[in-house]
Symmetry: D2
Subunit: 365 residues, 4 copies
Amino acid sequence: MSHNTFGHMFRVTTWGESHGPALGCVIDGCPPGIAFTLADIQTYLDRRKPGQSRFVTQRREADEVKVLSGVLPQEDGVTFITTGTPISMMIENTDQRSKDYGEIARQYRPGHADYTYDVKYGLRDYRGGGRSSARETAARVAAGALARKVLPGVTYRGALTQIGKHKINRDNWNWDEVNNNPFFCPDPEMVPVWEEYLDGIRKAGSSVGAVVEVVAEGVPAGLGAPIYAKLDQDIAAGLMSINAVKGVEIGEGFNSAELTGEENADEMRIGNDGRPRFLSNHAGGILGGISTGEPIVARFAIKPTSSILTPRQSIDQDGKEVELRTKGRHDPCVGIRAVPIGEAMVACTVADHYLRDRGQTGRLD
Amino acid sequence: MSHNTFGHMFRVTTWGESHGPALGCVIDGCPPGIAFTLADIQTYLDRRKPGQSRFVTQRREADEVKVLSGVLPQEDGVTFITTGTPISMMIENTDQRSKDYGEIARQYRPGHADYTYDVKYGLRDYRGGGRSSARETAARVAAGALARKVLPGVTYRGALTQIGKHKINRDNWNWDEVNNNPFFCPDPEMVPVWEEYLDGIRKAGSSVGAVVEVVAEGVPAGLGAPIYAKLDQDIAAGLMSINAVKGVEIGEGFNSAELTGEENADEMRIGNDGRPRFLSNHAGGILGGISTGEPIVARFAIKPTSSILTPRQSIDQDGKEVELRTKGRHDPCVGIRAVPIGEAMVACTVADHYLRDRGQTGRLD
Amino acid sequence: MSHNTFGHMFRVTTWGESHGPALGCVIDGCPPGIAFTLADIQTYLDRRKPGQSRFVTQRREADEVKVLSGVLPQEDGVTFITTGTPISMMIENTDQRSKDYGEIARQYRPGHADYTYDVKYGLRDYRGGGRSSARETAARVAAGALARKVLPGVTYRGALTQIGKHKINRDNWNWDEVNNNPFFCPDPEMVPVWEEYLDGIRKAGSSVGAVVEVVAEGVPAGLGAPIYAKLDQDIAAGLMSINAVKGVEIGEGFNSAELTGEENADEMRIGNDGRPRFLSNHAGGILGGISTGEPIVARFAIKPTSSILTPRQSIDQDGKEVELRTKGRHDPCVGIRAVPIGEAMVACTVADHYLRDRGQTGRLD
Amino acid sequence: MSHNTFGHMFRVTTWGESHGPALGCVIDGCPPGIAFTLADIQTYLDRRKPGQSRFVTQRREADEVKVLSGVLPQEDGVTFITTGTPISMMIENTDQRSKDYGEIARQYRPGHADYTYDVKYGLRDYRGGGRSSARETAARVAAGALARKVLPGVTYRGALTQIGKHKINRDNWNWDEVNNNPFFCPDPEMVPVWEEYLDGIRKAGSSVGAVVEVVAEGVPAGLGAPIYAKLDQDIAAGLMSINAVKGVEIGEGFNSAELTGEENADEMRIGNDGRPRFLSNHAGGILGGISTGEPIVARFAIKPTSSILTPRQSIDQDGKEVELRTKGRHDPCVGIRAVPIGEAMVACTVADHYLRDRGQTGRLD
């Protein structure tokens, strides 16, 4: 099962390669009656778009989305209303410098999927990594933009919390800062540090890893399901499916290994509004796979970009030993552009679980 | 979608509560012609079984498995041969002290799924946590025992690498030690440290978290699939679905955030046997979602057992504020018994992906 | 994918063979809070049970169902309340005369799945047909009994409309007669005809085919979904999955080939209650894959029982030509016992679609 | 679950409406290494294309397919090689006369899905029926063209066997005739009869139903699976999902109700080639849900086109009673163009089951 679909009720199927004519997705299960404009989607695509600063790949893509089905265009000429039928979205590839990749068409770049695709499929699209390119994630971001509208009142926000060994100071966390710097950094004091550090990495043709945190606020209690559709499990699966992700945490995550039961307990009281409230959120908003009503907090680690200028030892598809360095245009820290992708995956997962409970049309009762 | 099934080709559906008459699983998609005995399964169930040492819950369960379908009993009276039809396995619950839980039937235990189940379903089986009890994992271990036989030549081994702040010394790693102590600890020097530390935790009626590492050796290159059935994604989902797990890593995991591209690259050469080999395994055996042939390395963090003797603030289902302490019989560190469960989830996931590529009967070519 | 599960939201996984210790099912996705007793299920199992008249197999099975999980037993000692977690039901096999089948263990019975199972799996459970036995359908009937409670106010009723060339007179249709004869026949005038005809078939050790009609009344308009989850498609798939079924129709079915657009149009008016109503129901209650609110009408054809006394030419698994006649205890017309099975499949499919629209818990809005 | 995907291993997701900018499909799971040209697909699209004779709708669509992903273009400029990643195909809509439909935008056409879509979704794309238009089937035919290449050596051929009350004489069956007339009729003597009959229907603005038969020859024994993925069940589901289909049969189908066990038995012998062979094929190539190696024979009934010129009573979305007649451009017998669609659904289903058994890459053994 070559599974290019995720979600059960809000199902997203993506397609496309780095250097084909286009990429896109089909969203199946989006409820009817949701209004949106192309700008609603473009906003998020632009956050992920390459070429936005010197810290990300200089590939230039307009990343303009077209909506091909599943909507009724309204008279104002900009609004679409979803009809409940599959929504097909397409983004054309415009800046494909295939020649950049020519000389490594037969070589296996360390850290890339070149070798494993060849072993699995017996052939591969070497142009820009083909299907294994992170360009596929543009389709996820487009889907996520619609997912945000499925369950209104929820905010999905992401931030970069670590580049290399440089971690933000969580006491400085300010969501308003996130869009004020090229790193989605919530800690203004860390911005100049990362700037200098990444400039060094970039000039050396090197790369470095990062950690992203995504927070969903406003998710009602009761979403998720035992046993193999736990909300945290589905979020973990979604985040782990993003290129270069090597670890996922919910709430305290790996830190919970060091805590005692007393420290980790999220005690409960009745709030002034008469509603249950938690006194802490070590759980990251999920207990027994089901949302508690507290913010959902997920983190994921992204490995350093595998494409670097320093020559590395490898082999080619004929079994010959080679040395290779990856020229092309690459991100010194792919973690940066992973922020909107992480948000999209969480938004799609929450929408999916919401529809499992609420149903897709909900018009019968 | 209340999803109690995992896997696509090797599909495991589990059922049962902590205090019902029985629990079990149905394995759908196990290839025909596999020979096994009940002892093959019991071996793994016994590793997970409660009551094996003073460091795990004192609940006494025989955890004897019955095979109800999908097999041809052989003349020797002990061997079964799978027929390719669904294999139903059942484990009867024998030691259910429901009265232990009586007084907290209406209260929400912090860190447990009591509150979220009530919000979601409007009612819950409060006896021992019902479906949210880790007793469900016995069925996973039984399924994993069969999964190990689907792709011969692979070993699935787990170990505990951290309890509280006490991490093993990886230089001391010795797989042979794992079954010589009650902790599945691969570092003999750490055993007495954990013993003393956990005795303190246990006597205080407290609990603590842990980290488990699972390694699968012998998995051929080429298993897994882009984009939403990545092998690491499916392993992460499987591990995250285990009770109390809050984080999952593959290979370098969160540490990869601190590495540069040069440090993280797994270079390749041609080995003396003429086959490709990797000079390191930062990737944890998976690139682009597809196995490389190197050992698959996964780690997961388990939070401290939520049931502790220290009173905690909470509320009950009528919205009344209460103080509660959980008596019952509980694990001071649930992470210990998570080791065989983690192995089972990895084994099931690898079997599942193997069958996606190889097919379920493979008799047609 | 060896798929022993049907349904997406109301998911039923069945397991078990004719001559194993037991058979059963796991229902995953049944909403919480549904009250039922074992008698509610047993009623339907008894309608399908063997040995009820001389016109069905004389195998004697109590077909007593046990509920192993997913419920909270109530204080009255007979009522269960569903909890939203998987419901495991088991029926033990009691009357297994394996010796009956001994001599044909290696021979392929014409019309049976013996040959195809052997080709597919390389081995098979020859005892009573193993998994291909219609005994599996007991589990479906048990699941259907619960499915009936998911969407209250719907009746699911089946009747036999044809045995051999003898078709009922539809003008005589009387639902009250259906349970007054051993054939589920709605036409009292046809009963003696079938009785005499089937006695002849039975005494000759022969068998004959039949047609069953299932009608679901009270299904609200709006259930179903384009394009590959059409309500009629899912009903057709469910019915076609029943042993020995060779054809399925909705509404006019094959007769619609002979009609003109004028004849086949179901015109609409506004009823006295101010609600839309259809003036006819050629569509069988489904348009564009979605229910219209009219009764859903499905029919299916069952081939004659393959087990007959007349010797037939065949081969055995060594490729030797043989003549064989099937002794054992068999139904002269398996179509009779297919009536409650057809009802169950329609009930499960309607419940499944209802939950797709309404969601499984529906507690969030 | 708004399910616009069919298949498990060879998964086809379709999207698009009658009057949107385009329609298409994503094929996920097509094995790597399959060579094809656009002409291979276009051949089948052209058979289904509107405007080919006076007996089908006069809408003019080029139905030219574009392949957007999942392939490596070869140097000859016309050949593509599949890479194992999702294949996105798109067909642009060119001849959309939306004005034709203007006046019935608010009225429910009898026999159409207008009313049910409105009930379900609360709104609908009234332009040409939107998603419920048979234009969606162009995407199926494109997918089917690739499916034919998955399991080489199988032929998938369809024919029209009945229009209204006029059935072909099966003794005249000649596959070579099927493409010699505008009806896909295998009986040359029936062609002039249908021609005259349909001319009358067409001139009267009326319509009539039909029956299609699809035969797949060369399918190896052993495909399919008990219990809910029976090959006949999946074929029935695929055919029933085609617009306007009201009945499906395998082999003897409804006729099997009239047969005795003796008449219906497909006896077996060993052929001159030493291989098992069946002396008849009442089963239609499938026993117990698994292919026998004999030709797979499926039939389906298509109701008369609902759009007719004769005024019919109906209501509009405000609950007002109306009389309406459907002008537009329509097929007097939609059954004709259903022939290539039926072939496509059978081809996709066989490919899907083949991959379940064989796996998608099959490179590991």
